[in-house]
Subunit: 437 residues, 2 copies
């Protein structure tokens, strides 16, 4: 993993720490979300395996170091710094709230403790990895929740911010409860169920629609999903019905789904295809799904693309990564910033979850409830295998089910009660009075 996949200032600071003789200081950084995105009542954490992979493979090649040396900003960096960077590996500790856990603003999702350069450089990658996948997992849950027991399939790689983001988004969407993805690489890499059968181009490539449907059925058998809106949806439905079984179902991609789904359902039922399903795709999100279902549309499955793959109504997260503590030759120093509207809370932390509230405490405090932050890497090595994707997906379902019902609504609810422990509040006050006399 290229050490350059970060913001330049992480690297100028790395040089600065080194030249200032701080390379042996141990720093503790934490990653948390500053606010909830619009209409969200929690954020579903995802992206941890990518963080671990990054940390365990972080390094700088000769070419990359050569590039940095060529930059004006490193003109005063010493040869010793380049030697240091050349052998740099992540040797620190990572504590994390497991994937599939709902979290709230201010709760540390990750805590990194490492020599300051090793802890500083990962900032950019970690924010992007956890921010993006958590955003998509959260959005996916919303779509799945709105569909009740009907399947929601992630179809959005073409709209994702690069196809690679689509692949990781598919992973996050699966944690959020999607039944599968259209992204074949996500299936290969992560074992996610893959779905999808044909596009309009398939139908258009044949001189007549009936032939296109017949050939697809011959190939796909019981997996067949006929796309029936290329020319005329009801005519397409009649052609699919005429072919009879096997037919998993049909897909509508345009028009008024509330009306068309009923008419298509009638055509399929009249042909004795009562078990064949109706899937809809195109401009769906959690609100549209809820609206269709509350109107009684006979839809069995939803393919959600753009809105899910980009979390279009809330396409960025407020994740931040802040220095909270330094260990200088065994002496601790607590740090915080007091920028207007952007202050931070010092010290290494733990989060305790009880039924009605979360408590953010100092690490080492004994709280009541589940301690959410768990060791993942110690000395750069995995403490135990990471949970499987299926386990993270199950955890998400269980943890969300355990939340108070109001937090599981699609609209903004009364915020979760998250409080700081007394010890942490005292530390905050002490740190502030030390820094701002």
């Amino acid at each position: 993993m290229s050490g350059l996949l970060t913001d330049l200032y992480e690297l100028t600071m790395a040089a600065g720490y080194f030249e200032a003789g701080k390379a042996d200081e141990k720093a503790t950084f934490e990653l948390c979300f500053r606010r909830l995105p619009a209409n969200r009542n929690f954020i579903l954490v995802a992206g941890l395996p990518q963080v671990v992979d990054y940390l365990q493979n972080l390094s700088f090649s000769d070419d990359e170091i050569g590039y940095l040396k060529s930059l004006e900003q490193f003109r005063n960096a010493s040869p010793a710094f380049w030697d240091y960077l050349h052998v740099l590996r992540f040797t620190g500790d990572l504590f994390a709230i497991p994937e599939g856990t709902p979290v709230f603003p201010g709760e540390p999702v990750l805590t990194l403790r490492a020599p300051i350069v090793e802890a500083q450089i990962p900032e950019t990658y970690l924010l992007a990895a956890i921010g993006f996948q958590s955003m998509i997992a959260t959005k996916a849950w919303r779509c799945v929740e709105s569909a009740h027991d009907r399947a929601v399939v992630e179809f959005g790689t073409r709209r994702a911010h690069t196809a690679e983001a689509g692949t990781l988004g598919a992973r996050a969407a699966y944690i959020g409860g999607c039944a599968g993805t259209s992204n074949a690489l996500a299936g290969f890499r992560y074992g996610i169920p893959v779905m999808g059968t044909a596009a309009h181009s398939w139908v258009m490539s044949f001189a007549c629609e009936g032939e296109a449907l017949r050939k697809l059925q011959r190939l796909l058998g019981e997996s067949t999903i006929q796309l029936i809106d290329t020319y005329d949806t009801l005519e397409g439905a009649r052609q699919a019905a005429k072919l009879g079984p096997p037919l998993w179902g049909v897909r509508l991609d345009s028009g008024d789904f509330a009306v068309l789904s009923r008419e298509v359902r009638g055509i399929l039922d009249d042909a004795g295809l009562g078990d064949s399903k109706i899937m809809v795709t195109g401009d769906l999100d959690e609100y549209r799904i809820a609206e269709l279902l509350s109107g009684g549309a006979p839809i069995d499955a939803f393919g959600v693309g753009t809105q899910l793959a980009t979390s279009a109504d809330a396409p960025a997260m407020s994740a931040v990564y802040k220095l909270v503590e330094l260990d200088i030759l065994g002496i601790k120093r607590f740090t915080a910033k007091y920028s207007l509207d952007k202050s931070t809370v010092p010290g290494s932390k733990q989060v305790f979850r009880a039924a009605e509230r979360d408590v953010i405490a100092r690490s080492g405090e004994c709280g009541s409830g589940e301690a959410l932050l768990r060791p993942v890497l110690l000395g750069g090595n995995l403490v135990e295998p990471l949970p499987s994707l299926e386990e993270s997906r199950r955890r998400a379902a269980q943890c969300i089910a355990a939340l108070p019902p109001a937090l599981r609504e699609l609209d903004q609810a009364e915020p979760r009660k998250v409080i700081y422990s007394r010890e942490l509040r005292e530390l905050t006050d002490r740190t502030r009075s030390n820094l701002i006399p």
Copy 2:
């Protein structure tokens, strides 16, 4: 480039085309944008080198083929299909509108002509690559335009939808006119100027702010940008001013920039640092930049993160990829779909740009104005080296400057006149009457 980095249905269709004896049919697909995003008057095209790289490296490994064989959807695929997929490479032609060209809805940005399987599989990747980079290039132009001659630097990798998307977004932002990026990998890979010096953690890592600023200046010399809002912006400004030159400038990341920039300017000027600049970062977009400058705030440079890296006000594009033409043993068949609100126009095309309007014509028609679609790959090989990133950036500036002034506004203007040639309209009517009797 993994052949699996696509939607599954591209691959089931590939099997279907093959099994239906269509593997030798040549298909022409085109990629275009269906609509303009909100408040945009054009879309600035970017992402072509990534498309070329994908097409020239597309292949399937044994493991990937083994994975596909394991899927229910491919149960009826023949051994011959797997042999075919195993040696599949892109051998077709690619025509493209050059990077840095503003385009309008309906204009084919890419045209692919290849054996149908080779042309079908790339759909997902191409949509994501061109859609994403064009989206970011367009957003970047808006930010740069709003800043007049002040520098806008792309600072958003931490908010991008994966750090990799941040890197490609930095590339697109540079085409759109940004002065540089904070992403070091984007600098290394693409030669984009890189910027950034220190974060709050730098300041916090020292026992006192003054020491942090002094150490940074010692390292960075004339590149020094002091971040002054960790504890108190004006006190930070005074500390930076006390150190004197060299100082490129200071950065404000919180508070009321309109007020603080004036006060900080005064502190710097009073210290004889009239040449030192003020950069602001934090929750900026084109509107906020315009507002600050129209209010006379003495700001010299803007770092734009979230809004730029995610195009947050319009985080997805309506790019589509449609089959327009088939060549079956030398006989042409034109294709289109007539789905409600999603119809397409048949036949291979060219776009002619004149001062006041664009004409979308049939390929081979002789139009007036600049023919925008140019051959990039013929028989899978590059026709000529792609333009450099600098050339694409210059082209963007020149092409946008040549647009009517109303289209260069930040708000929605009267849409560009884009018409179809008579020949293309006749082809559309004929195709429709053939398909829908």
